[in-house]
């Protein structure tokens, strides 16, 4: 609830973000943001299973309203310092939406997903943790 209120406040305070579609079609997912970027994403399929490939469907917005680019998506287990055995490929829909295909978490535990985003000359890395059981 606090997160929703914070996001609502954030969107109201930043007009460009108010237009950023956070619903990716299934009414579920995650939102990450920084001073410059707001990003919503969900997995496809909705439930991530250990050892099974999945994709991420993402929407990337900027505070300025400028178009953003998703450069790379990767994931690692910080506790064990290893990455995925797979490299995601990214397809752009051209409207701020992206699909990262070929993700696979091969162990249960904490995975840190990293998103490299860029708008113009400014690039940034956003992160989000997922605990996989």
């Amino acid at each position: 609830m606090r997160l929703a209120a914070a996001l609502l406040g954030l969107c109201l305070a930043t007009p460009a973000w108010a237009d950023c579609p956070l619903d990716l079609g299934r009414g579920m997912g995650w939102v990450v943001y920084s001073d410059h970027y707001l990003m919503a994403f969900r997995s496809d399929p909705a439930r991530i299973e250990v050892g099974e490939p999945f994709a991420l469907v993402l929407n990337v917005c900027t505070k300025s309203g400028a178009p953003a680019e998703l450069l790379a998506v990767d994931a690692q287990m910080p506790d064990h310092r290893h990455f995925m055995n797979y490299r995601a490929s990214i397809k752009s829909n051209g409207d701020g939406r992206f699909r990262a295909e070929g993700m696979l978490f091969h162990m249960p535990g904490r995975w840190e997903i990293t998103f490299d985003v860029r708008a113009g000359e400014e690039s940034e890395r956003l992160t989000h943790d997922i605990i996989l059981k």
Binding site: V50, M77, L104
Partner: protein, 392 residues
Amino acid sequence: MIRFLLLVSMLALWAGGAPAQPLLDWTAEEIRTVRQHGPWPPPPARDPSNRVSGTPAGIALGEHLFNDPRLSGDGRMSCATCHQAGREWSDGLAKGKGAVDLDRRTPSLWNIGYLHWFGWDGAGDSLWAQSIRPLLDPREMNGGAARPGELLRSDRALACGYEKAFGEKPGPDDERLLVDTAKALAAFQATLVSPRTPFDDFRDALVAGDRERAARYPLAAQRGLKLFIGEANCNLCHLGPRFTNGEFGDIGIPFFVRPGEVDPGRLGGLARLAASPFNLLGKYNDDATGASTRRTRHVQRQHSNFGEFRVPGLRQVGRGGPYMHNGSVPTLEDVVKHYSEVSPDRLHSDGTPLVRPLGLTTEQSADLVAFLRSLDADPPPAPAPAPKSLCP
């Protein structure tokens, strides 16, 4: 009085099967974790890249070919020479013996249809592609690429079986017939599903909340299972119903095959995968959707792959052995000892090591072995021998 008590005890045994023992306390989190190791058996494996996967005619042809030594160069070795039904679909040797002595152990074929990577180094991305390798490898069956085609065209029964499975007579394209032979072999191998075990009965009872039935599972196995999913963290890699994540790891087994020569494991396997004309990105993949290619398209070759080998499933593990990719560990007790005493210096881990010396007590080691042996069961009655003729 004593006679009366004995009689009561015997009646209790007769009525309830094995005597009930105390059931350890299982937390909700532990039950959730145990639940993930089932149910068993899973639905039959189907491979969309193989158009005869799961088809009776494909399986029947594959079983015939699996036992046919004419596929080898000297006409003396079939797939069944190394993958023997009576030896858990392996050969019981530390290292395989093909046309020459090999450097790796013959892997069991139990539950192989559920894998995504094949061979100890994962050089195969489908069971049919993996089945081509020993046919051609001069160190193994050394059959040559033209041998399956010659056999399918010249043997009336096989030709008929081929037509039933693939819907056409064997044609002149030897490479196509090599691939189709491998696809029939894969269809047969995918039917090799290990039986239900005492662990499965325990898992089902625990999940269902049936304490009485769960308590029939030996206490040592219960303690070993708690270790397996708890302190020892074995289920980080040995997870799911097959007790494997299907990926690769370095657990500190020496990778020298002889002085000056190493087995690079997954690193070499990925190079061979990329170079193979039979990988899932090639023209022989029958899956028009492309979904079966996801792992192959996205897998990345990393330096850390050096010395990694496929995480084996653990069902029927106590009946197999020797253990590890090179058969260097003779018994299940020795496997547990390895994990108890493995040298951290050998593993080069930066973060929290996935494999670390567990420092198990004698009792803990015995408990872990007891749990692992509860993943064994007598195989189902030997399948009826393949009919002499593939066609009436």
